[in-house]
Amino acid sequence: MHAYRFVALRCWKRMAGTLKPSILPYGGFLAVLVVASLAMFDADRTNAADWYPAGTSSPDVEFHGFASQGFLYSSQYNYLGKSSKGSFKFTEMGLNASFDPFPRTRIMVGGFADDVGEAGKYDAVLDYALAEYTISDYFGIRAGRIRRPDGIYNDIQDVDLGRTFVLLPQGIYDARYRDFNVSLDGGEFFGTLPLQQAGSLSYELYGGLMRPSLDGGVGLQLRNSLPSNAHLDTIDPMKIFGDQLWWNSPIDGLRLGASVGYISGFDYSAVIPTPVGPLHLSDPSDILLQTYSAEYLWKNWTLQSECIFTDTLTKTLGTPDVRQFSWYAAGAFRINKWLEVGSYYTEYYSNAHSPGIIPSDGFQKDAAISLRFDLTNRWIFKVEGHLIHGTGLLQDNVDNPVRHDNGWLMIAVKSTISF
């Protein structure tokens, strides 16, 4: 989901951007401490934290939360922050509550904050706030701020608990752009349709508005593509409609997915002061997203593969449309209850029709191997190594002025506590 990069490609010669200092460089450690305290308090209870607002006869409110702190080191480039010197700017935390006030009705609220490189800056956001009514297994409705389904991981890409790897394949699940990818204000229909001996078909049809943050990954990259004296004023909310289908095959653990999303009205507003007056910039476009997925859970194995096509359909005369493509294949094996090993290979191409100005910016290939340690039920630790070719996903020309196609290494370490 990197459709905004067409702006970066077109403005490639303008090397600009200033980086704002982080306000809470050690906020991640504080968050881990708080969640660890909650987890220890809850250690000998069944799980989560339950609250009965009006005694045990009322619906209970369930709370869950997590805090993750990571460390990134790159042997050559500043990727996902200033990682060439080692970076702790890799923090994520979330807190949610849910309860069932009436039959077949659920209300859920979640908050989130992160700091990944220069994106996020610990800005607390309302991650989701929704009401859900399930008429039957075949049909239900969610409305409010919901997480967008797209592939295996889009709606939980910032939840470290939900996977083996520290970094998901970044060509599909870029850690900096959750504000663009993950949530939308609107609603969806959902359900599962039985197909008799052919398994079942799960569906989610959604629509609404996306509201990227000026301090998120999209805002960061727009600023990086603009002249240093430019000011990014707004990123317009944009409409999105889409669906996620999953065929749950009759073979236990095997499912195949297809997702299509259409974003209408991606645009921003920036101002460049000039001697003759302010110059206003904007660049409207529509974006078509297609994701195809396969997942097979077999005994202790988890096997996954996905690919995504992102087509940016510009509305500016003389500007060509842009296609980006990425795919990966991943496998993970649970050795015992406290150790899991995983590996993936992924490729990303920034423009399938024409290369960028610097050849290595046209792609990025990554082979990763990861170890996940489940130290307790609520505390995990991961260590991971990457061998990377290409610089297509760096997206930070100011901190990486010299780029070429040689191999480089990245180490990622992360710990997460949850309750």
Binding site: N47, P103, R106, L161, G162, D252, R334, N377
Partner: protein, 141 residues
């Protein structure tokens, strides 16, 4: 040719039926909170509950799954199609994407039964020798 196709379809159906029947762990009991109106449950419905495709009982009450913490349970594995780690990860994904509520975990069988007895809409798998005070046993069809 037609008879060959019919035989293949019959064999495929037999294999699938066998797979469904094999999904039910012999001896394991399905226990539920006494407020649950159902007295019977099919293997398919059980699987739908444990994989989040069915979230509510017929009467509209939310299904609450209770499991033993940290245990690679053969019964859970056969019903859900996942080992304990995959099962936990699966439900964590639903919880933190605003699409589900995490199963309740208990450290031992006795606590598990107490959780089911005390939680509206709760269901769990228990060994045949589990103490069953306060819960009902659902017949598996």
């Amino acid at each position: 040719m037609n008879s060959m196709i019919r035989k293949m379809v019959f064999l495929f159906a037999l294999l699938l039926a066998g797979d469904v029947l094999a999904g039910w762990p012999a001896g394991a009991l399905v226990i539920a909170n006494r407020g649950v109106k159902e007295d019977h449950i099919s293997v398919k419905t059980l699987k739908d509950l444990y994989t989040g495709r069915t979230s509510y009982w017929e009467g509209g009450e939310h299904v609450v799954i209770a499991v033993l913490a940290d245990k690679t349970d053969e019964a859970l594995s056969q019903v859900s199609g996942m080992d304990a780690s995959q099962f936990r990860t699966f439900w964590q994904r639903l919880v933190f994407s605003g699409r589900g509520q995490e199963p309740k975990e208990a450290p031992d069988i006795a606590t598990l039964v107490r959780v089911v007895a005390a939680t509206r809409g709760a269901i769990s798998l228990a060994p045949p020798d589990a103490p069953l005070q306060g819960v009902k046993v659902l017949n598996v069809e």
